[in-house]
Subunit: 156 residues, 2 copies
Amino acid sequence: MTVAPHATAAAFSDLEEAAAIVRGSGARLSAARRGLLEALFAAEGPASAERLARSGGQAEAADLASVYRNLELFEELGIVRHVHLGHGPGLYALARGGGREYLVCERCGEVRSVDPQQLDEIRDQVRENFGFEVRFTHFPLSGLCERCARRPPGGR
Amino acid sequence: MTVAPHATAAAFSDLEEAAAIVRGSGARLSAARRGLLEALFAAEGPASAERLARSGGQAEAADLASVYRNLELFEELGIVRHVHLGHGPGLYALARGGGREYLVCERCGEVRSVDPQQLDEIRDQVRENFGFEVRFTHFPLSGLCERCARRPPGGR
DNA sequence: TTTTTTGCAAAACCTTTGCAGTTGG
DNA sequence: CCAACTGCAAAGGTTTTGCAAAAAA
C-alpha cells in the first residue's frame, strides 16, 4: 500500500545527464544500467519491466531481477517513476517534465495521459471537500471513457 | 485491465435474499456458497478472499480457489463488488446501498470510504473537462491524506 | 442420475531475494 | 583489488486452471 519514497524529481534531459545522476550518486554505471537507460529513453510511453528488458539494445533480454533492482534505484534517484494502470504489471517511465498524470477507462483500457495542471481544478475541489491532496501519477484516475460510458453496462 | 462485466446491482438486504438471487440464477446454493455469503455479511468492510475463506463459519478455512470462483459468480450476479486499495490483494464487499467509493492515502494507506453523492461535484467536473465518467468503486481516488500532505516528501 | 461444484494440486503471473561469480572504478 | 553489481535460480504472494471426486437438484 505504501509508496516508495522518491527523491525530489531529478533534472535531466538526455541519457548522458541521467547517466551522470547515476554516477553522481556513487552507484556504478554498469552495462546493464546503461542498457536500461537506453530502453527508457527509447520507450514512447510507460513500459513494463519485461518490455524494457527486451529493448535494452543487446540481442538477449536483460535479466528481469536486475531490471527491477535498477528501476528501483532509478526511482530513488528521481530518474524514473512507475504507475499502475489497472491490472497487469507496473509500468515505468522517465520522470521528466513534471510528470504526467493518467486517466484510464475501466472497461476498454484506454489510457489518457494529461498534464498535471489540467487536473488542478479537480485537485482543488478534492482538497476542499476531503482534505486530500490528490495525484494520479502512481494510481490513475479511473472511470469510463466517453465511448464506454454511452454503452449500457454488461456490454463487455 | 478490463473490468468484469457486472450485472445491474441486485437488490437484497439480508443473506436470504442474496441466497435467493443465487438460486434464481440457476446456480446451486452449496454449503461453500452459503458460507461465503455468511462471511461477506459478517465482514465490516472490504475483505480479502483469504480473510473471507477463514471466516466462513466452518472451523477449517474454505478452499481459496472455490472462494475466488464464487466471488466471481457473485460479482456477475451483482451481489459482490471488489476494489483494489493500493497494492496487496483485491478486497471484496457486498454490493449494497448504491456502493461506496474510496479515497486512499498513498503514503500511510489510510482508507476513507465515502458516499457516491459526495463525489458528484468532482464527477461533473471530470465529465466536463475530459468526457470521463469517473468512479472510485473499483480503483480508489489516490493521493495524500491531510496529515501526510503536511509532512515533507521522502519521510517514509 | 446428471450436471454443477468442490477440493486439491499445479501453474501462471509479477516481483523479490539469496548467492556465487563478474565487473567497474 | 574490493565493493558493487549481475545472472541465475528459487521463492513469495495473488489469482487461475485442470481434473477427478463429491454434492445438489
